[in-house]
Symmetry: C2
Subunit: 448 residues, 2 copies
């Protein structure tokens, strides 16, 4: 234990990394990550959760150097990071590192876009910081998952703050010593409880992780010191917040095996464990046509996490609907919908959806993979059909195409910033690697 | 479990409490708590830790509505809360709730003085918020101590954020519903690792707890919602951050037995577990006179926490010196000092102190209470004397008098803001209950 230098080695890697050290396919995944995040942040920006957060914090903002995405507000960098992180996650429509259920972009991209705006950061440097931040976040997540998550930590917040600190620190040009302190200041702010799921505070977690991680980097830049072994010390992050500590997940293959290349993008606006069910129910709907109205009962056989995370029987709000596999199945069968409109207050109160929802049942089966589901539908006339989804759309085996990511971007952003602005912003997002200054992208994401 | 309503009941109590519900002796302890905190915040304000924190965050500050104590800076309320919380703790000279080793005032007073300044808050209302915040913080601490602390959490940060949220929420006039959300937003930000002890980040914890708790209250005021069972839910604070959950500590005797009446004030500027040793060594120094120079070895028999927390053999900086019972014993014997000047870089590098430090040994004895010590000194001529301190000065059995608190205030604040300002500020502190507007106190704490 005494000889472990996880924090020091990780910090050294972050500081020493050049853009050219990142393989082209990983950088490409970084671009897809950025475009998906940007669309989600625009799409979530008009949510009431964001309104209320802005109502609370606007009076504390410093000089308005950073754009609130999808709004006409400008705030200081740290507050913009907070709000953009909330917006990007509030619809549960963002990205997922499937090994850990971390939503990687929220904490990292929200921090660095806000920080970049007044610093003339090139798209190339931005993308390097984004990839390195996601790599740090997911590797630290791997080291403690699943114990850490099972214990009740919202890992997007707790691991995300490290990603935000590393990425911001990379942009600020921290020394290795300062990067170790930034990681320490991130570790000591790692927080976010799963009990918040189904409330506005869930999306507060990636927002706050972005803000706290950025602040950690600025403090370290000012030589505010911290532990140099914050990840691995006996009373450091991994030991205090987890019963599992596998440090090989952090250092092994660093720079050759890229977690940042394994990001996935949600086709549906809810917890990823429900995605196989929605996918299957949409397929069934297409097959059944009008016969959907004659369903007597629906039986789901799913991975145990589905009921653990999304077992809410009777959701009362759209946010709660995201945590009800029953609501999601009913809505996919009746409306074919898994987009944000499937998880509104209106949808969860629709009498037809409520009636079908009550006829959906689910059983846990540890033999069913997380991205799979078995669905059995019984009709009023006694007929029974079955469907097996081995890999949900959006999984690593069936990734969203660039085209699908673009469509998702457009569907989300047109209602918020209009068609012309959304089209132009999407083009800028895909072209980020050649952008001379990403501030232009942030400003183009404003609501007019 | 399902019927537990800890968060709801605690929130209801906070919201319903009137100033007149607090016994006079508890309010009096609140005044002593405030005066002690104010002196510590002034005294710590010129520390390099505060310089660096200000260097990092000044550019993010919103409108300058709140005074940075002991400085000529003004910041927005949340940033002032952060910095004042750091200042008040950086010398490890503040107050202690002995049952939990929480330093109660830092998170709470730092939040509410900053928030009060632009709101015309009377001293009476301020004191009510201070007492209620400390009560909430210490009761939540009691519910999870010692497991939570042993696991590696810096309980002043993790419990402190609840106190800051409750106290700020009380000042903002939150409804019961909003107070539940504020507690939830505090719970999900509870953080601070003990691995940071000995670095600048230790004092960041009460500062950030003050800032985060205040922000939780402002978010709740804007109806940003959160879990309503954040303390007791299966994935809430107590279960995720502790293996012990004794909720009777939170609700039993609420309003009749006051933890806020049990605060103590440090006579020495370091971790409280070293205080019996310093007290005893100071007594020995007076008894021995010049014979101190002939000490061959010093043997301490202490509570096990002493070596666990302050077992650093060779501190290199003043901050590290606070975590070395060996340094503290040597300095008390050679200089009679336990004040901030005993824990400077100069002191830990003094060859005479270093030489004696290396001749101090300590053994753990679970039979020795935390506020006691047995000291045995052996001289070069073979003579041996012993001293037993049953209760250190500053403990509940030997509390600091008002006079001693006043002297401590003066010793700390005169070098920072000058004699006239310090005298006037001390008078205002003692008279806080009759202050029509505590903003005057905040402004009087500025460095000229």
């Amino acid at each position: 234990m005494k000889d472990l230098e996880i924090t020091r080695q990780l910090a050294g890697w972050v500081v020493g990394l050049d853009a050219g050290d990142i393989p082209a396919e990983v950088r490409r995944e970084g671009v897809r990550t950025f475009v998906n995040w940007l669309g989600c942040a625009v799409g979530g920006a008009s949510h009431e959760t964001v309104d209320r957060a802005l109502d609370a914090v606007r009076m504390f903002s410093g000089p308005e150097r950073a754009q609130v995405i999808g709004r006409d507000d400008r705030l200081d960098e740290l507050h913009a990071a907070l709000i953009n992180g909330i917006s990007s996650h509030v619809l549960d429509y963002d990205d997922t590192h499937l090994k850990t259920i971390i939503h990687p972009a929220g904490p990292v991209a929200s921090a660095i876009l806000a920080v970049s705006e007044s610093r003339a950061v090139s798209g190339r440097d931005f993308l390097t910081a984004l990839v390195v931040g996601i790599e740090v976040e997911c590797r630290i997540g791997n080291a403690v998952y699943p114990d850490h998550y099972d214990r009740g930590w919202h890992i997007t917040g707790t691991a995300g703050v490290f990603g935000a600190a590393a990425a911001t620190g990379k942009l600020l040009g921290l020394s290795r010593q300062q990067m170790m302190w930034a990681i320490g200041l991130a570790a000591t702010q790692a927080s976010g409880l799963r009990d918040m799921f189904g409330t506005m505070t869930k999306s507060f977690h990636p927002g706050r992780a972005a803000q706290n991680g950025a602040m950690a980097a600025f403090l370290a830049k000012a030589n505010f010191d911290s532990s140099e072994r914050a990840i691995e010390a006996p009373r450091g992050f991994a030991n205090v917040l987890s019963t599992k500590q596998d440090y090989s997940e952090i250092l092994d293959g660093l720079g050759s095996d890229w977690e940042a290349g394994l990001n996935t993008y949600k086709p549906y606006a809810c917890g990823i464990v429900i995605h196989p069910t929605i996918d299957g129910c949409q397929q069934l709907r297409e097959r059944l046509g009008g016969k959907v109205a004659a369903i007597a009962s629906v039986g789901l056989r799913t991975h145990p996490l589905v009921l653990e995370l999304t077992g809410k029987r009777r959701p009362n709000t759209g946010l709660e609907g995201k945590f009800s596999v029953f609501h999601a199945a009913a809505t996919a069968l009746l409306r074919g919908d898994g987009s944000p409109t499937a998880f509104t207050d209106e949808a969860v109160r629709d009498p037809a959806i409520m009636a079908l929802r009550d006829r959906v049942d689910a059983t846990s089966d540890a033999g069913v993979p997380e991205d799979a589901v078995h669905i059995a539908v019984t009709f009023e006339d006694g007929e029974r059909i079955e469907l097996h989804v081995p890999h949900a759309i959006g999984s690593l085996e069936r990734p969203l195409s660039d085209n699908a990511i673009g469509k998702k971007f457009t569907n989300q952003s047109v209602p918020v910033i209009g068609e012309a602005a959304a089209g132009s912003l999407l083009d800028m997002g895909w072209a980020i690697e050649t952008s001379p200054d990403v501030a232009a992208i942030a400003r183009a994401a404003a609501a007019s």
